[in-house]
Symmetry: C2
Subunit: 420 residues, 2 copies
């Protein structure tokens, strides 16, 4: 079943705001079994909205529209959709209750402007948005069987995501009588995408017809996603689990985790399971390792803290790296990263510690240590594991790859799956 997205907002067209809604909605639709064939970003203009709706309905069965639902004069999506479906606006009681509830939660009175948000086209089904005042609206296009669907959603990312999850995806799956779908994620490290593809090609070719494999590469990580479709959900899960042993027998050493979307989520699961604590000592990642860990709520259960030792003085004075080590081997060296990781683990008294030191670029490279040279290390209470990386790309990619590789090394160390 084909879908298109229309993201409305002048702020998207001047590049002030990155359109993260498009990626999130695409991921959710894809996971729900729908194929997104186009994403259209346009301004708050009636003709553009109308023309784009027309084109989208020609090439897809589902059109999801975000944005332009605020109460100000710039926000015209609702009016345009109402005209498009030859309907009229009315005050919906359920929508009004939600607007009142939202305002009351912030200690605010209902104003005439807010009240306008409860007016919706008579022909649509109201989808309640418990996180905001703008309504979700479900329209069916007369004609085809099953009817094509247009859904209008607020542009605020967490309001959109909640409505997608609780209302839109379940309703779409039921409306279009979608088959059951089962996904299995595998996080793979230590092998490039093309080598991985060569390695598991025979296994992939032998997959049953109802199971598909997708490669989702990031710096320092490849996510493999298996998607099975069929009539019975229980059977699909069983089917996929029976396919895994043969994959593990070929690519097992590279598979670092299952069922997580990102490495910080995998680290959270592994640290919670073992009940141990973690600290970080960062040079080239400059705080991003800690920031990625703490972006997840509840990180304080296992993450105690860290040191960003950007200068050599901080490496010496706060982490206890020896002056002679820095003099003899330099800041970007196995010796330094080992003393960093032990220093932070001891000083913060954690069970495990992570450390990074490298040349993120664009400057600072030498023939012996070019830009992208990074040393990473994991310490447990009894051992230290250090690895050298050579990261391609720009500063941000070097940091991202370093974080992913180091999280993977930690997981393998905790699971006792790594050679010293």
């Amino acid at each position: 079943m084909k879908a298109t997205l229309i993201n409305i907002g002048d702020e998207l067209l001047i590049g002030q705001v990155i359109n993260t809604n498009a990626a999130q909605m695409s991921r959710m639709m894809n996971a729900g079994g729908f194929d997104v064939v186009g994403v259209y970003t346009i301004g708050d203009r009636a003709d553009a909205i109308r023309d784009t709706l027309d084109s989208c309905l020609k090439i897809s069965d589902i059109v999801l529209v975000t944005g332009g639902l605020g109460p100000t004069k710039d926000d015209i999506t609702k009016k345009v959709l109402c005209d498009f479906f030859h309907s009229e606006l009315y005050e919906n009681g359920e929508a009004l209750e939600n607007v009142k509830r939202r305002l009351a939660a912030h200690g605010r009175e209902l104003t005439p402007i807010n009240r306008l948000q409860a007016w919706i086209p008579r022909c649509c089904t109201f989808l309640n948005n418990p996180l905001g005042t703008a309504p979700g609206m479900w329209f069916e296009v007369p004609g085809s069987q099953p009817a094509s669907v247009v859904v209008s959603l607020p542009g605020v990312p967490f309001e959109m995501a909640n409505l997608m999850e609780t209302e839109v995806i379940p309703r779409l799956r039921s409306h279009f009588r979608q088959q059951a779908i089962f996904h299995k994620n595998l996080l793979v490290q230590g092998i490039g995408e093309s080598f991985l593809s060569d390695l598991i090609e025979p296994w992939e070719r032998a997959l049953p017809e109802n199971v598909r494999l997708a490669y989702l590469p990031q710096p320092g990580l490849t996510k493999l996603r298996l998607t099975a479709r069929g009539s019975e959900s229980d059977h699909l899960q069983q089917q996929v689990s029976e396919l895994l042993p043969s994959l593990y027998s070929i690519a097992g050493p590279y598979i670092v985790g299952e069922d997580r979307e990102s490495m910080p989520e995998l680290v959270a699961e592994v640290m919670r399971a073992c009940g141990k604590t973690l600290s970080t000592a960062e040079s080239c990642t400059g705080g991003m390792l800690a920031a990625k860990l703490t972006a997840l709520a509840g990180a304080s259960e296992y993450f105690s803290g860290g040191v960003v030792s950007y200068s050599n003085d901080v490496k010496e004075n706060v982490l206890g790296v020896r002056h002679e080590t820095l003099e003899q081997w330099g800041a970007v060296s196995e010796q330094t990263v080992r003393e960093m990781v032990c220093g932070v683990r001891e000083r913060l008294d954690t069970d495990y510690a992570l450390a990074t030191t490298g040349i993120a670029g664009p400057g600072g490279g030498t023939p012996e240590k070019p830009v992208g040279t990074v040393w990473i290390a994991v310490a447990s209470r009894s051992q230290v594991f250090a690895r050298k990386l050579q990261c391609p790309g720009k500063r941000a990619q070097v940091v991202d790859r370093t974080c992913n590789e180091l999280f993977g090394l930690l997981v393998r160390v905790v699971h006792g799956k790594v050679e010293k």
Copy 2:
């Protein structure tokens, strides 16, 4: 002059990759004086590319296309453009030289597959991409005067950005005989967008016709952008500089900096200018403050390092926050943030220090200290300045706002423009 963007790539439609090219290209086009009226993300399919090109040329004079230029069979943009313009592919000598140069830089031989990247349609102008092997291509559509333009660019963000800056924008400005354009950015803090708008409305209404004002809000920051257009560049700069004193007389206390795109860039400028050093102590920002500072190359000139004191133990043992302070006032308090900022400044021996402690959510809030309560502080060698914030939004927005507000407080402290 109206422009549209077509971003091609299946990875964008499954949500695996966030389309940051769209925002960056829109910003660059906007700064160059062109209005982006639509952004279209589509898959690597010939019919979709052709249809979208057709629609875009109906509503815009300029169409910028990214992606689908790799040498693999999935990448079909070049072939489709060649057919679209009824042209034929040939091996371009300049393009071949560039492919060879790029491969040699990585110690690799020219293969038949790589060589294909030097083949381009005969009807286009070759735009050299010194950072990669995929060519830029400039097509003119016969008919209108001046001719509409289609430009094909690689999808790799830094290759695209370099081609946009060095080739595409200058050529477009010349081809469409664009007026001179002059931009002035002002970074504004401590006042909400709507209050700012009310405050400066009389000044805005009195702006000359050739000068426009745009509001670009972020969490904890509003960027005001003045854009002047006219025939003479020198005159525009003069004109804008004469408009500023009257703006400063109304909104001066809220203007924290000029001519920078972000707060970390402003901090870099201010710290370089004063030649002082900086450190950070982070609780609720969890490393993001340091990560934002170190995302800029050369941060080591002024940033020594920091401590992520996520647990109270780290606040006590590494930063020297007193146990009694944490017991009596709690981790999220003025007393704690003051001891954190002094602790890190002394231990890392820097001229200035920054500290954050707060409740980023979604859990951890109380009636007295709801989610979004954050204390920030700046220490110099002789003084400490602390402020309380109440941040709306989700975890990531709380962190972003805290960082921006704290960077602004630092700049005002360094400039001696803040009351204790």
